[in-house]
Assembly symmetry: C2
Homo-oligomer: 114 residues x 2
Amino acid sequence: MRIGELSRRTGISSSRIRFYEKHEVLPKPIRDGNGYRKYPDTAAKILSLIDDAQRLGFSLSEIRAGLSEAAPKLPSRPAMVKALRGKLDHIDQHIKEVQAPRRQIVKLLKEMGD
Amino acid sequence: MRIGELSRRTGISSSRIRFYEKHEVLPKPIRDGNGYRKYPDTAAKILSLIDDAQRLGFSLSEIRAGLSEAAPKLPSRPAMVKALRGKLDHIDQHIKEVQAPRRQIVKLLKEMGD
DNA sequence: CTACACATTAAACCTAGGTTCAAGGTCAAG
DNA sequence: CTTGACCTTGAACCTAGGTTTAATGTGTAG
């Protein structure tokens, strides 16, 4: 599929897709005779993975690192499991970090007799 | 106190303090005869509040909004309580948002028989 | 042949949140 | 009266993560 369809399928703008390619987050696709990018169906899955990861708070360089480990045989089970575990740890760490100040706020409110 | 001491006390660089003033996050201090900024002791508390709020994931414009409500009588109880409650809600919302994908990862890992 | 959607590139622009720089003023100590 | 630490300003620069624009090529339908 071409970049426009990939964009439509994933809801990610073409410029963003090119941006990811340029910054080596998304692997370079092959080119058609006319020079157009030609993506395999798996590209949509990879893009969605990237999008999900970003929403989980991963930076593009973290995603790049995680993806190059898990890729190129993208749905290779052990790599996938490892990546998922990594994400889980990342989220849990994040929640922990955010709960310290949360507890402090609760304490403050309690002290204010409220 | 002058900007250098405020910076030392709070661990926030002078340029960052000037940046906050310029972007109306930190109230403009009075000026000394020589034009130097002269801060009251409360400035350190306000700055620390800003710093804490940022670490909780608030943007400067959210902080600006929250602070202008709570300020200028900074430790006015009802405003303070309101601000703290607001922060609490914000954090809880954030945790909620992050837990949806977390559950999905857990589910995926389970499905992979792992 | 023309129109129109779609593709290409490099480069400029944008927001957020700052830092760094250049050119200068102030002030206390020696 | 010079040195050094501190202060002032505006403007340029930086990273992240993109979007927009301009100039140009491609492919298909009427």
